[in-house]
């Protein structure tokens, strides 16, 4: 990307001008600077996001009408597998923590870098290695994997496609995630600026702290599980094979013990971003700071105990079903607390409807629909009907894309001027948001209706009664993609052509707004002393 171009055009080029041991591309891919690593991650993640979008677009195109439209069933099965693997493991899990967390966590807590800068670089290299293995799985062996991103046994241990390599890629990506989590938890414990007590820390670091623990504790389990799948395929160990005394349900437990907490790895940092955006653009302190902070921990804790709700119709025990359903309903409460506090933060503010706030408020709306539809799935009897239907697909896209995705775009628009020292075209960014928001709802809302009507998920073909809603959903995907293109075109153009901004274009109160844009090498000439909370705004009267 054109970083050198930015350096040429920007007046205060900040860390972009830093002279390290290497120059050119090597100055990036061997840099241990948290800001450079954050940008490396952001570029890699956005490229893979685009690939995932293309796969999603092709799936929707195939489903525009019943019967064969553009591809064969086997191709479709591979494409939905790749769409899932890329979006989950390569975009949304690393997404916010690795890109924005790396860039802003040290700055927000008044540190010069993360606790282990070299480990940080290693985790990016592991990420790239994982990407390479995932791509190899596409083009080698006997065809790309066709198992769905869940790799359910025994299909995954039997299919002739290249599952072993894809699973190995996910295994490596796990280490990247563990190292990032470890790094952030340590950084928050050890490197907060003098005077920054836990409750003077901004809420984005709080959410990264909760996320970090989940990454550390849950990811090893998926690593072991995926290795077992490989052993099963190569040596026929039989852990998941009933003919050898194994159990396919065991695979599902092991998979979801990680993958449900992973859902919170995905959403918590986005919640942190929303907690940053709203006070800045409402120009007042956050409502219920401690409740938002604690609810992150509650979500991380409770969220680790609800995996069985993916298995209500699998044949696990009745007692397990009931307990997991109850715990699932309890995890809704801390999320509700966050939503109420965010909305209350608008009360008596002095609100400027900038693009980041548009994204933050859309996050609340879409995440609420996602969360409320989650309650329907948490209820045992209702779950039986909508399990494994398009309803679930609608639900998790509302949470993951409407939630984390819109959170990511919000973060992108909120921190863009800080990262690059330039402002994007605000009008264009609002138009792009409008297309995204309308397209999103048109694409995913029909899935709730389809699911309730009984349309199973992962279906290449469908019966005629489902056609209308599938058609509407596919048209929605075209609108959504137009919005994405518009948004990225605007941002990329603004890297060079955007208007220059000072250190604090929004009137923010956290530490990143006190240093120049883009930030200088090592962030602070002198480490600041903190003597107040994170969201005290000039001119805001206290009650």
């Amino acid at each position: 990307m054109g970083n050198r171009a930015i350096a040429e055009h920007a007046p205060a080029a900040g860390f972009y001008e830093e002279k390290g041991r290497f120059s050119g591309l090597f100055a990036w891919i061997f840099s241990t600077d948290h800001k450079r690593i954050g940008l490396l991650y952001m570029i890699s993640i956005l490229i893979l996001f685009s690939v995932g979008v293309v796969f999603g677009f092709l799936m929707r195109l195939e489903l525009v009408s019943p019967g064969k439209t553009i591809m064969e069933p086997q191709t479709y099965n591979s494409i939905f597998t790749l769409h899932g693997v890329i979006m989950i493991f390569l975009f949304i899990i690393p997404g916010l923590p690795a890109a924005f967390g790396n860039f802003f966590l040290p700055i927000q807590i008044g540190a010069r870098d993360v606790a282990f800068p070299r480990l940080n670089l290693l985790s990016w290299w592991l990420y790239i290695s994982g990407v390479v293995f995932a791509l190899l799985a596409l083009f080698t062996g006997s065809g790309p994997p066709d198992t769905g991103w869940t790799f359910y046994a025994p299909y995954s241990t039997q299919t002739g496609t290249n599952v072993s390599l894809a699973v190995f890629a996910a295994f490596i990506l796990g280490f990247s995630s563990i190292l990032t989590g470890l790094n952030f938890v340590t950084t928050i414990h050890r490197l907060r600026a003098p005077g920054m007590s836990w409750f003077r820390m901004p809420l984005f670091p709080w959410s990264l702290y909760a996320t970090g623990w989940v990454q550390l504790l849950a990811t090893p389990i998926i690593g072991i599980t995926l290795l077992l799948v490989i052993f099963e395929r190569l040596f026929g160990v039989g852990v998941f094979d009933p003919l050898k005394g194994g159990d396919p349900i065991l695979y599902q437990h092991l998979f979801w013990i990680y993958s449900h907490p992973a859902v919170y790895i995905m959403i918590l940092p986005a919640m942190g971003v929303i907690s940053e955006i709203i006070p800045v653009h409402a120009h007042r302190t956050i409502f219920g700071y401690r409740f938002i902070a604690y609810s992150s921990l509650a979500i991380a804790g409770l969220g680790s105990l609800v995996w069985g709700h993916h298995m209500f119709v699998s044949g696990q025990s009745y007692t397990a079903d009931v307990v997991f359903s109850l715990l699932t309903f309890l995890v809704a409460i801390p999320s509700a607390i966050k939503v109420f506090n965010w909305v209350s933060t608008l009360y008596k503010g002095s609100i400027v409807m900038e693009t980041p706030l548009l994204y933050a408020l859309s996050f609340i709306f879409l995440f609420s629909i996602g969360g409320l539809s989650g309650l329907m799935q948490g209820a045992l009897s209702v779950n039986v009907h909508i399990h494994d239907t398009a309803f679930i697909v609608g639900h998790f896209h509302y949470v993951m894309f409407g939630g984390t995705g819109f959170g990511f775009f919000g973060a992108l628009h909120h921190w863009f001027p800080k990262m690059f020292g330039r402002m994007y075209n605000k009008t264009h960014s609002r138009i792009a948001w409008f297309f995204l928001f309308v397209g999103f709802n048109m694409l995913y809302f029909p899935m709730f209706i389809l699911g309730w009507m009984g349309m199973p998920r992962r279906y290449y073909d469908y019966l005629p009664q489902f056609h209308t809603w599938h058609l509407m959903s596919t048209i929605g995907s075209w609108i959504l993609i137009s919005g994405l293109i518009l948004m990225f075109a605007n941002l990329i153009r603004s890297l060079r052509k955007g208007e220059r901004v000072g250190s604090d274009p929004w009137g923010g109160s956290t530490l990143e707004w006190s240093i120049s844009s883009p930030p200088p090498k090592e962030n602070f000439e002198e480490i600041p002393r903190i003597d107040h909370g994170p969201y005290e705004f000039k001119g805001a009267s206290k009650e």
Partner: protein
């Protein structure tokens, strides 16, 4: 969509509407407040903000109220679910088997069918088993679903409330033709159902060889009819076409006497399809794979008896 076509559907609908009403109320409240605040406290109208740090009473209210609401939702879901799990003792038992990519239903009198026929108003207890990978038995109209797991026997039960034909889907991803693993539930009034069951039972007893040797030709015709039925029931037709089109496996059209290339232990060999070959290829399909196809077919060793295999081969022979 919202009718109650089975006794189970009723309780699912109740829980769903309870949650739906609360959800809509919540969503409207949240959205209304956001829009209202954004307009009322825009910088133009409200240049100076007030930093309110929180309100303990509000926090308690919006913790306790949602807690009560979600506990209510949990309760409704639980009650309905408990009902789904308690099978009445007098329910009619049907054994269902799922395999890539078709269904087999077996009744207590030995009748086999690829469609699930059930009597109206009587409880039906479906025992679910899988021959290969995970599948899921899903009848949207009845709002019932349960996975089929190899090595386990799961179950569902229901009482149908209206006669008719209802879709049956596989809802757990099971490979290439997952979206074609469809069947139907046919609900008939009790007497019509019994008539059907009796007629089918005759088909089962037809296996006895005809005592009259002169009727040999007639027997052959009935053998072919039998083979045709079996090729559907046993799932052959889910992967092998009879019209020459290529599906997951080679087509049955003109299979007998065709010369074809097979791969065994990595070596290619040309064979002419005869009775012997068909027998081998059905019972031990993994030994020789037809070139250009994947080794997907499960061995039928324990799934077909000699008579059934004879009938299927007789049927295949005459598919020109």
């Amino acid at each position: 969509m919202f009718e109650s076509l089975s006794n189970i559907a009723e309780s699912v609908n109740t829980a769903f509407f309870f949650i739906l009403v609360i959800s809509i109320a919540m969503l409207v409240l949240i959205t209304f407040l956001m829009v209202f605040f954004v307009i009322k406290y825009s910088r133009k109208r409200h240049p100076t903000s007030k930093s309110i740090e929180g309100n303990k009473l509000l926090e308690v209210v919006w913790t306790v109220v949602p807690t009560l609401l979600v506990l209510g939702m949990f309760y409704f879901g639980w009650v309905g679910y408990k009902f789904m799990k308690d099978v009445p003792e007098d329910a009619m038992v049907v054994n269902a088997t799922g395999r890539m990519w078709s269904w087999l239903f077996e009744y207590e009198n030995g009748v086999q069918s690829d469609t699930l026929w059930v009597p109206l108003g009587r409880s039906v207890h479906v025992k679910l088993e899988s021959q290969d990978v995970l599948h899921s038995f899903y009848v949207p109209a009845f709002k019932i679903k349960q996975d089929l797991v190899p090595g386990m026997t799961n179950y569902v039960w229901f009482t149908a409330k209206e006669p008719g034909e209802y879709e049956l889907f596989c809802a757990e991803y099971c490979g290439q033709r997952h979206s074609y693993m469809l069947s139907k539930v046919v609900v008939l009034p009790e007497d019509e159902f019994n008539a059907w069951l009796e007629k089918e039972a005759k088909f089962v007893s037809e296996r006895e060889p005809s005592p009259d040797a002169d009727e040999r030709e007639l027997t052959e015709a009935s053998l072919i009819r039998r083979g045709e039925r079996l090729s559907k029931i046993k799932g052959c037709s889910a992967c092998h076409s009879t019209d020459g089109s290529r599906m997951v496996g080679p087509t049955f059209k003109g299979i007998f006497g065709r010369s074809t290339v097979v791969v065994a232990n990595g070596e290619e060999r040309e064979v002419v399809v005869d009775e012997d070959y068909l027998r081998k290829a059905t019972l031990n399909p993994e030994a020789e794979i037809v070139k250009g196809f994947q080794a997907l077919m499960p061995p039928q060793r324990s799934l077909l008896d000699d008579e059934e295999l004879d009938a299927i081969i007789e049927y295949l022979k005459q598919l020109k």
